[in-house]
Amino acid sequence: MKDPRHFTFLVGGEAGHGVRTAGTIAGDYFGELGRYVFQMDDYQSLIRGGHNFAAVSSATHPIFSQYAKADLVVALDARSVELHREHLCPEGVLVYNIDALKEGVADCIGLPLSELAKGLSHADLRLGVGSIAVLAAATGMNRAALADFIGRKYVRDSENNVAYALSVYDVAVERLGSQWQLGKGDAPPTMLTGNEAIGIGAYAGGLDMYFAYPMTPASSVLHFLAAHASELGITVVHPESEIAVMNMAIGAASVGARTAVGSSGGGVALMEEAMSLAGMSETPVLCILSSRPGPSTGVPTYTAQGDLGFALNQGHGEFPRIVASPGTVEEAYRLAAELLSLSWAFQSPSILLTEKHLSESRMTVSIPSELPSGPSPAIDDSEGEYGRYADSENGISPMRFAPSAATIKWTSYEHDGNGITTEDPAWISLMQEKRRRKRESVIAYLRAHACTNRFGESGPVVVTYGSTTMSVREALSVSGLEARVVQPVYLEPFPEWDFEDLAGEEVVVVEQSCDAQLATLLRRRTSVKVVASVLQYDGRPFDPEELAVRLKEVL
């Protein structure tokens, strides 16, 4: 019986075959074995038909990526057979739905998955349940345990789901029974998608209100927070446009509610004018920007890192912006909390930049029992005289919120200390300098805190960021390649100080951008010597084994 370093299960089919749910439940299946899980959904921008697949990799050690080569593929339709035949490990097995094909496939195992579902309502949607039964049969789960597992996981019409799963199990066990005996691990039991972690992280950081308009791949932050709004005690609002989203969030923040917004590139572009308003009016707001391949509508359900420059330069005019990008789902949780705190402490907009690959992938996480800590905002809730933009050494004017006996004026215009419009050159300079000093205060804070992650002790330097960090870490882990990975978490203000000891060193940059935007940023902001870029910009995340081969060529 086989027990490889990591085990990858891939289920493919049409939208409407229950593929995404099957992926999640396969993740739970491995999770219940105590294994670390990384689950990636590959789906298209459509509701029925097309081709979807879920790749679920697991191991007894922490795992940071799905693998393209699967140990077990379950193909629910003909197209999945064609597309995923090449994606098998040397000892991998492909099981296909014999009812979806006109003829048998050599070296693969055909099972009557549709035939067995006949007579059940939503027969097509149950095919995903069948794929879990195949997984269970192949990895040694017994019949009773499968019945219990399916009953718990497919709760809607569970009786029929269990019956169907057992009928598939019975035919599958004969053909591929217990080929694998997967090792049990001691992974923590929690699995989260990046977007769930971001939502709950913002909540941990004090979120009161979330405003968003749907846009893939950020929508699931909205869905997650809306589903849990009452138990969390927060308010979730879906208004008419991203323009309304950002302006409402700013209005709400100005009377004391901690707000966040979220979208992908196109939606954030619509928010951009108000991002600048947040800069001028010194309104705290957290913006979640989850990227997909652009420009424009681009490829809605796939991944890319093409919005780095866009995020760093959000909003016209000069004002402090805080931009950071998490390298794991766990880090996304912490960073969402931290960015909301920083926005409030420095009364500035912040952007949590991420990608579809992190937003919608699901992995094993450990959420600490204590809330993440962050700086506290300057609040003046006295009864005395008040000027919203009173000058101060660190550029931070304490906030007070209406209703108050004092007059509190927030404004988009250049202003005096009380928030009254001015065109006076002395006031203009003073306020520009105040905002500049605020940026220096952000830098002083960041310098005293961890802004850059490093992994690995020796070997050449690989610089990467965001979800690509996970691909790089897994590539090194699977290949045994030695390298020092440097991952700037904060991107604006850029932590130049974290690169001082690397001055003059040759580095390889890995990112999912065609223009190599991170490499450009490093050339501008650090003294490292970028000697090679490893890029991928086809919408797909890196495969760790392929990435390892490409890294070997350049390191």
Binding site: H228, I243, A244, T259, P403, T407
Partner: protein, 278 residues
């Protein structure tokens, strides 16, 4: 001393209709105060344009927003603290051009804000271009041969969108206008007061309005009658064209919760997260 005034220098043109709006609004605030509304519970927002200077001239808290967005800013403030009375000032370019979606949706969802539209049929601050409410043939620097578009009828538009309080006022009838403001602010739900504001420099409509403005005595009960009143062209009817009661958006969405006041404590957040992932 006028405690509703600030030290900001007033730069409206002499004779501008905005003076009447400012004075009528101050009068309305004082009237609301005698009716028990606390001044500190009143917040204002403004768009960008001549109208918006009112933000600097009023000693009230709020947010000087950007062009077209004062209605969105106001809705955010109201949702975060529904105890406040939030008034959004807007120009006709703000309300019926750049920000028309916010108007239509605020009316649709019955957001409990008051929008005061300084409708002067021109972009005054940018030197007199035609706006969504300019008459066809309006000559401005962007339409030197005259605008070829028919104007919106903003009140008919707001009625169609479901506004629960719709009024039109005229600054020359200052007491009447002030009364409209107070009633609009006290209305629970979306209220809009479209103010026929002459622009002495780019669109001087005093004579036309003086001749055609007529006060509506009774608030129409039937929607069709409100619509007919909005569409009258022989006379420009001023007064309340529609006033119906309907549960406001914040109550539907929040119940009695005040997000800015009743923030979940750190202890609650820790417990909720532990329960979700424990």
């Amino acid at each position: 001393m006028d405690d509703l005034a600030t030290y900001a220098e007033n730069t409206w043109c002499p004779g501008c209709g905005n003076f009447g709006i400012l004075n009528a609004f101050k009068k309305a605030v004082r009237r609301l105060e005698t009716a028990g509304v606390k001044r500190q519970d009143i917040a204002i927002t403004a768009g960008i344009g001549c109208h918006a200077k009112i933000f600097d001239y009023l000693n009230l808290s709020g947010f000087y927003s950007i062009h077209g967005r004062s209605m969105a800013t106001a809705q955010g403030m109201k949702l975060a603290n529904p105890r406040m009375k939030v008034i959004a000032f807007a120009g006709d370019g703000d309300a019926y051009g750049e920000g028309i979606a916010h108007m239509v949706f605020a009316a649709k969802r019955n957001a409990d804000i008051t929008v005061i539209v300084h409708n002067n049929g021109t972009y005054g601050l940018t030197t007199g271009q035609y706006t969504p409410t300019s008459v066809k043939g309006f000559r401005g620097p962007s339409t030197p041969q005259g605008s070829v578009e028919d104007p919106f009828n903003p009140l008919a538009l707001m009625l169609s969108a479901g506004a629960t309080f719709v009024a039109r006022g005229y600054p020359v009838r200052l007491d009447h206008l002030s009364d409209l403001f107070a009633r609009a602010i006290l209305h629970e739900g979306f209220s809009v007061v479209d103010v026929l504001q002459p622009c002495v420099t780019f669109n001087n409509t005093y004579q036309r309005y003086n001749e055609s403005v007529t006060e509506l005595e009774v608030v129409p009960e039937a929607f069709e009658d409100s619509m007919a009143a909005a569409r009258r062209t022989d006379h420009l009817l001023i007064g309340v064209l529609r006033h119906v009661s309907s549960s406001p958006y914040h109550r539907e969405l929040l119940g009695d919760v005040v997000p800015a006041d009743t923030r979940a404590s750190a202890a609650r957040r820790r417990k909720v997260i532990a329960d979700l992932f424990g």
